[in-house]
Amino acid sequence: MATIMTKGVLLALLAAVLGVGSAAYAEGVGDFVLPSSKAASLENCVEPTEYMRRNHFELIRHQRDETVYGGIRGDSHGLSGCVSCHVGYDDTGAPIEIDAEGQFCRSCHAYASVEMNCFDCHATVPRGEAWNHEVAAAHAHLTGSAPIGPTAAER
């Protein structure tokens, strides 16, 4: 517990230095956001931060079914979105696994003693994200599904 508190204070200080969040005390809203993450440069989470702290799992779970059954992806409540915005980076600019010790999805859960297995399956760093505009552009020279050529019967 003591170490977590120190970490909290440290993060709060770092956050304060970077001008993220106004709280300069441990466990204030936004204190768990890592200074090296994209989130550190932004004002708000995908929903009001206070709401996110309390309800993020409901949102993710809802989004999970929307994606798996409805095929709705790229929505801001998806798990891959949390990872890409909240993942921290080391000095070399390489992403650090988001569920590693001290990282965003782990530190607060450790504090709150929450266990979750999502990252047994889900990528912990952004890598090979779903089809998106950048990927689409990279593939633009390919023709996709096979053009209709003469069929076996015709040749």
């Binding site: 409805g70 709705i72 992806r73 891959s80 089809w131 998106n132 023709t143 599904s145 096979a146």
Partner: protein
């Protein structure tokens, strides 16, 4: 998820299919079949049964020794990131590692004629895997894609036994490396999902068909079984095709020509 019969040539559906197909690229021989990239956008409404996705495999064009579709599937869906558990027998691993497409070679013993074909989930209208699943994890999406919700899969593997095509794999070991678009973990069953992540992002293609086409073989045609003007239906109209194990009456979404 609706279990009414979806014959491929129903009049009303044809109309709906055509109406829904307006955003797809106009298809004439030689014209690019990719949805224009500028239009590619992630969907915001749930998938519907206005589309039913499928494939036509022309086995006469499927080259012996070519693994382009399998390789493309592997890297698209992170299957190439699996690693053999330390100390496991090579042969056992080859049998156990998850694959979504198997390249199958058939030889007619009488004539010696060899046929190659890729075999993947056939995306049945009446999927036996769905019937036997005790948790409902194995399901058919509204647009005909049969898949596993791995959040509710308990790894019982009934579906693997029920599948006449041996299309499903079980993940036996913890997976260290995965792609964001293809989560994967020990204890669940998985299989081809027709690159649903592409479709859902507005890109009407699968990695396998794209790779086959890039190789110049064009043995795989992907498309909408409910769009009479689309590439798949056009090709099906021109080519005699069958379902593997047609006798089972599963009405598969994957059809084969030349067998």
């Amino acid at each position: 998820m609706n279990h009414e019969n979806e014959s491929m040539n129903q009049g009303r559906r044809d109309f709906l299919g055509a109406a829904a197909g307006v955003s797809a690229a106009a298809v004439a021989p030689g014209v690019f079949l990719h949805t224009p990239v500028a239009n590619a956008a992630a969907r915001t409404d749930p998938v519907t049964d206005l589309h039913r996705w499928g494939l036509l495999v022309d086995t006469s064009k499927c080259a012996d020794g070519c693994t382009a579709c399998v390789d493309a599937c592997d890297s698209e869906n992170g299957l190439n990131l699996q690693s053999k558990p330390h100390g496991q027998d090579e042969l056992k691993w080859e049998n156990q590692r998850a694959v979504w497409i198997r390249k199958v070679k058939l030889q007619d013993n009488l004539t010696g004629h060899v046929t190659n074909l890729p075999l993947m989930c056939q995306h049945c209208e009446h999927p036996p895997c769905v019937d036997v699943c005790p948790t409902g994890a194995s399901f058919k999406r509204a647009d005909g894609i049969v898949m596993v919700d791995r959040h509710t899969c308990i790894g019982c593997r009934y579906c693997m036994m029920a599948c006449p095509y041996k299309a499903r794999s079980f993940i036996h070991e913890q997976v260290d490396h995965k792609l964001t678009r293809a989560p994967r973990g020990k204890g669940c069953v998985e299989s081809c999902n027709l690159c649903a992540h592409r479709l859902d992002s507005g890109d009407i293609s699968t990695a396998c068909a794209e790779a086959c086409s890039a190789e110049g073989h064009q043995a795989l045609i992907f498309g909408d079984l409910k769009d009479p003007m689309g590439p798949l239906r056009q090709a099906l109209a021109k080519t005699p095709s069958r379902q593997i194990r047609q006798d089972l009456g599963l009405n598969t979404g994957v059809r084969y020509a030349g067998i």
